[in-house]
Symmetry: C2
Subunit: 229 residues, 2 copies
Amino acid sequence: MEFHVSFHLNEKVYLKDPESSEVGKQLIKTAIELIYDLGFEHFTFKKLALQVNTTEATVYRYFENKHRLLLYILNWYWSYMEFLVMFKLQNVADPGQKLHVIIELLTQELPQSAGALNYNVKFLNQIIISESSKVYLVKEVGEINKSEVFKPYKDLCATIAQVITEYNPAYPYPRSLSSTLIETSHYQQFFCSYLPRLTDNKTGDDRAFVVGFLKDLLFRSISKSDSHE
Amino acid sequence: MEFHVSFHLNEKVYLKDPESSEVGKQLIKTAIELIYDLGFEHFTFKKLALQVNTTEATVYRYFENKHRLLLYILNWYWSYMEFLVMFKLQNVADPGQKLHVIIELLTQELPQSAGALNYNVKFLNQIIISESSKVYLVKEVGEINKSEVFKPYKDLCATIAQVITEYNPAYPYPRSLSSTLIETSHYQQFFCSYLPRLTDNKTGDDRAFVVGFLKDLLFRSISKSDSHE
DNA sequence: ACACCAATAATAGTATTACTACTTTTCAAT
DNA sequence: ATTGAAAAGTAGTAATACTATTATTGGTGT
């Protein structure tokens, strides 16, 4: 079965919807490749325009700056991730089982098949891991937040938090634990690759290690046993 | 009692030791103020030179680029934090008590009195929270890591991991948990300030909330009770 | 078919940033 | 005083982040 998913991303992220034109779509696809190749700080609109065989001015008609373009990519990712969570939890009744599925989704590579992605999933995943925190760790975060462009992240976080509360209604930190799981999934994978002494990964399989760590962290935190002291 | 602490930071972080001259010291002190005011992306050597009444070329004689300068500040912070941990654990025997002290240190503001800091501690703390991950979330991380400039972070992480192992020798993720505590301390504080819906903070006191969350996370993770399922 | 208009794209800039090469000054040792 | 090394300043360049202006296209109405 083939199907097509699309989200209407907050219009304030872009100046002109990149989905509305062929060049626009090409820009996103190529941006993902370039950000992966160069890293976000070395990525420029000039290089992007060159790669897509258009001009810098054209790129600026779609996005205010490269930060907004990254935000667009992440909005897409967060929306897609929440969709996947909803979808995969459809017929799972047990909240514990739901949480297992969620951890796998947060850590495993996006399925290339599902959804409507011509995007390179491997690259997209690396971008999520290495660059995502750069969209909010900026001086302008307060201003940016006013335009609701972090809503997909907050929604994803709220969705996970709800399952946590379902599992253990008495747990007092469902949202903080959700955001911690998301962030920890990213930088523990990053650490495994580049600063392994910040982890305990002995195996070769980074993802498997991170899944193990996250599940331990999650289920011990929300277990209904009495407090520790 | 007044005392003076100093660390010999890895020479590969700088081109010329800023501690070796009056201008150098002024550069660090002013850099902390400017990075706090402008955010790291808007901070430039030109602005720094202007503020210190010197020239851009002089700043470049101390640091290869602004990324290295940030790395210097963080090296200083990590070294100082590890010193504080060692110092404060001196007469604490119980590993559980030790971990309480560590969480407080990781989350509370640095004591202005202790050490030899003319640095503005309030600013420094915000920089740690908002900018620290930018020193390793870069394409060049592998290359940078070779010169051992992340050693202070790894050491701090190892020190905390050791206390965790002391508390529960069977716990399989002491290092990952340490790095998670450090990182989580930062961005949960950041989220409390700017994206509060990613947290469960209802009180006004961000730090107290984060301390509570981290202690819960830590002690539930390493409690010796049987596994959850 | 042709003029007209709006949307879209390309050209050609500017200001700032990141960095470098070269020159000048300082200041201690002869 | 003279010299030579270290430190600091001057004056650039190339790249980046944008912007204003000019050209091009493509669809309407007559």
